[in-house]
Amino acid sequence: MLKVLMKSIREYKKPSLQAPIFVSLEVVLECIIPFITADLVNQIKAGCGLSVIIRDGLLLLLMAALSLTFGVIAGTTCATASCGFAKNLRKDMFYSIQNFSFENIDKFSTSSLVTRLTTDVTNVQMAYMTIIRLAIRCPLMLIFAFAMAFIMGGKMATIFLILVPLLGISLFLIIRKVMPMFKRVFKKYDRLNNSIEENVSAMRVVKSFVREDYEKEKFGDAASDVQRDFTRAERILALNGPLMQFCLYAVMVFVLTFGSYTIITSRGADLDVGQFSALLNYSFMILSSLMMVSMVFVMITMAEESAKRITEVLTEQSSLANPEHPVYKIADGSVDFDNVSFKYSAKAEKPALSDVNLHIRSGETIGIIGGTGSSKSTLIQLISRLYDATEGTVRVGGRDVREYDLETLRNQVAVVLQKNVLFSGTIKENLRWGNPDATDEELIAACRLACADEFIEKFPEKYDTYIEQGGTNVSGGQKQRLCIARAILKKPKILILDDSTSAVDTKTDALIRKGMREYIPETTKIIIAQRVASVESADRIIVMDNGKINAVGTHAELLENNEIYREVYQSQNKAGDGDAEK
């Protein structure tokens, strides 16, 4: 895991290394400063002249200036290193996701990917900063302060030999007790927040059934449970403060008694009052660095989960790779399925597609019909290699799809997905996804074909109309037509519409089909639809049922011979062939 994450440090290796170096220098100076002040105090006590004070004072000022410089450099490089690392992590994850295949995308939910790219990276960034800053600083300070205390206080410093292990072990025990508690309660906390989310989105149901009080009670129970667990853990953690205080006080009492004894009996030879405050300073340094070490430990453990989730994305291998010697030319728009079976995952019991044999000639118009879960979408997604067939081969233009360059294949096989989205930006920008170099005339031509021109022209800003995120300012039918136009702009050899006119009225639907017949006759057109009317006029219609091809034939043939087709046709025709569907 660490190895994977470390790869993202890259150009920030330099600041990542500089930071600890400057931090170390800062620590050294911080440890020397009390040494000099102790000397200064002793000098003053001994009644030295002003010149000595000035000398020591200047030395101190110089050190403070150096320490400040190092501190500022360390702080800056540290910020650069950790934020840079975070930036690269986000970038690497985003790039990795861009290379995901559909199979990879299915594995992660949108919200989990967003969390990984935001909150999780922030957690790791904080941990990284703590590591390069404190992980060096604390042990170094511990050792340095310890050494200085010995040099200065001699026997006096033995108190640390007792206190440091005492504090260290106590902190260790506290953390060992508290960490699993926190991990558990964070899981509960997540669940609590999920249930709030559930409640917010179900508010109409809650209010319709007058379940407000019931929900309050349910929430109250879960929330107090979380509170109880949190409080228990926090209370144990709250022992840290008094523990630290206790150690500091112990040092103080020890220094004041044993220290005065040593000074008086040795007449200031072994120890002097100047060392008094210096010793106290060092004790503070030693104990607080121990404290920090424990904090670093906590932070790292907290970030561990986040790091794990990030690594999952970074190491996720795209299940589809470009072939070694890709083919860049597609002969024609013919499609062949030979004994194709497909499972979404190796573990799935039932194949989503089994034993599909299908041959589509270039330029043919094919309709596909079938209930939800009959694998209509699965079938067409194999053509542009959004998924790879588990068994058998899918061929386009006579060649196995796995031989083509992916981009070439997907540009020539344009799919209008069922769950389609527009992106925030103008209509033009959205359309140019299909072809970045399309001229305005080409855009308009494509929109005419998709019957999108008529409503775009009615917008005050026409083709420069801004589409909001998620396409919320256009209606479902308008969105679908824009998506079709976007795909047509690719000038593909094969055009696949996956239930892409469901929100379009039947008249316009018919116009779009007519346009495609007239203006792009060579293009193979595959149309998935709920409405029989949308596929009625196709050259051939495929009836899918339960992952298998149930029948293939023309409208008349199927009406005659196929029960499923007839059933669907009749159920729709009872209501007139015009389902005014969304």
Partner: protein
Amino acid sequence: MQKSNQRSVGKAQKGTLPRLFKTIFHFYPVMMPLTVVLIIISAAVSSIPAIFMQNIIAIIEQFWQSGDWTAAEHAVFSKVAVLIIFYIISLISGFTFNQMMAIMTQGTLQKLRQQMFNGMQNLPIKYFDTHNHGDVMSYYTNDIDSLRQMISQSFPQLLTSAITVVTLFSIMLYYSLWLTLVVIVGIIGMFFITKKIGGGSARHFIRQQAAIGKEEGFVQEMMNGQKVIKVFCHEEASKADFDRINEALFNEARSANRYSNILGPIINNVGNVLYVFVAFVGGVLLTVKAPNVSISGLALSISVAVPFLNMTRQFAGNIGQVSHQINFIVMGLAGADRIFRLLDEQPETDEGYVTLVNAKEENGQLVETDARTGLWAWKHPHGDGTTTYTRLRGDVRLNQVDFSYDGKKTVLHDVSIYAEPGQKVAFVGATGAGKTTITNLINRFYDIADGKIRYDGININKIKKADLRRSLGVILQDVNLFTGTVMENIRYGRLDAADADCIKAAKLAGAHDFITRLPDGYQTQLSGNGANLSQGQRQLLSIARAAVADPPVMIMDEATSSIDTRTEAIVQRGMDALMKGRTVFVIAHRLSTVKNSDVIMVLENGRIIERGSHEKLIAEKGKYYQLYTGAFELE
């Protein structure tokens, strides 16, 4: 309807801090003041050692020439004994307040959470229609989390520092005015540096938050459209966009972090400089034997100078601590501000007084009863002290209703509907024609002016909302199921329903068969809004849920729109069974769903333009006919 997308990012309003204190005090009227007292004691006591140090150094000065420890021993020990007593006090108060802080922090968060949640349950639907769910969620996550840090760490730290500084200051004055003046000058300098850098840090922090928000929005959109990106081979372009936003975030984050990182060293070393100056001035004063001015009247000596130097360090350290908390406080207050704003939202009002009660018939008269009789009546108390009972029948009438969501744009014009008990009334029309608005008015999700909607002859504004809604069943297009078992989800319709009632309802809805095929039948655990069920199955459960409630009036808003026609046939059977004998309002795009209604209303731009049975409307060859023959798009 416009949703407010942007959460306010920025500084909190004035008055947030006092209100937060008041809130905590309200939650913990004993513990909070006690904690404050303990923190004060603890902080004050921890500043006192300076005095003891001065005392003991004075003793050392007195005896070190002679080197006679036995003489000094008593003096030292008696001082140290007092010091130990102080320390014990400090430790006890420190331990107690730390424990209490842990309890209070979590308790306050919990109580706020509960208040927010309770308040939220009482908010009108309008609130949820006009606010992003993500934003609502972030009150419970981001804002509560930012409060945690502020309450548990920043507040005690600030108080401790303030007390320590005050105590140290008085001790300093007690010893020497001149040296204190030096410290004051230094402190003023430090204050300005803290203010400048701390302020800069807070400013950058806020900018960083904004950059994070921007990146989150972008990532959200891209992750959502990832499959489209793949299909269009748009990966490189989206990478380029991402890099731009990512770089901007990096720059903001680096500035924000740099500020907070360098604040420590700066404060620290300004402290060092101050130390040098105090030492220097002290040395000069000692050397020239300048007269001291102090409360204690002590002459300036080494026993004063040494603890003074220590105090200087402690002083600077405390100011450094304060500066570290600035970011947390800025964030915490902004979070508190947003939480208070949520708590201040106006709850749904309800002046209704007509209630729904169980009734039985005695001598042809309706009488109220506690037993569940299956016969319901509206209990209507009148101004003159009498009470009348009206039988619940399910007769709903709208008389010339006009309505506007925002007071500007009228979405319903002069809508009149008469639905008699047992009738099926359908609404057909484009999105935005006002179909859902009508149902929103019937169950009083939104209110209209008096008297225009009557339920069994009673003005619905007089009916208590809870009772009104209990008499109305609702099935919506988007099915919301709750985490829990299938049984619990059905029982949501009526909490006191026995298992047998739930199973009966499931059978009525046609859900029984698939439920028994689930791994644990009715005890199968659902999560993530029933993610392991198909759309059709989830809709069947929602029908069963409505069936167990057994209301006289049903509202079905696009209940079958997202189901394919074959599955719909199955769901339709359940719905037909449920609709029998009830007043039903149906909204549907699919004309097959509404065809057999008693009355079909065709809505356009908030007006009813056609009404009548299917046959009548077809014969009229109007809008409905055009829809039916597919000449119009319902959008």
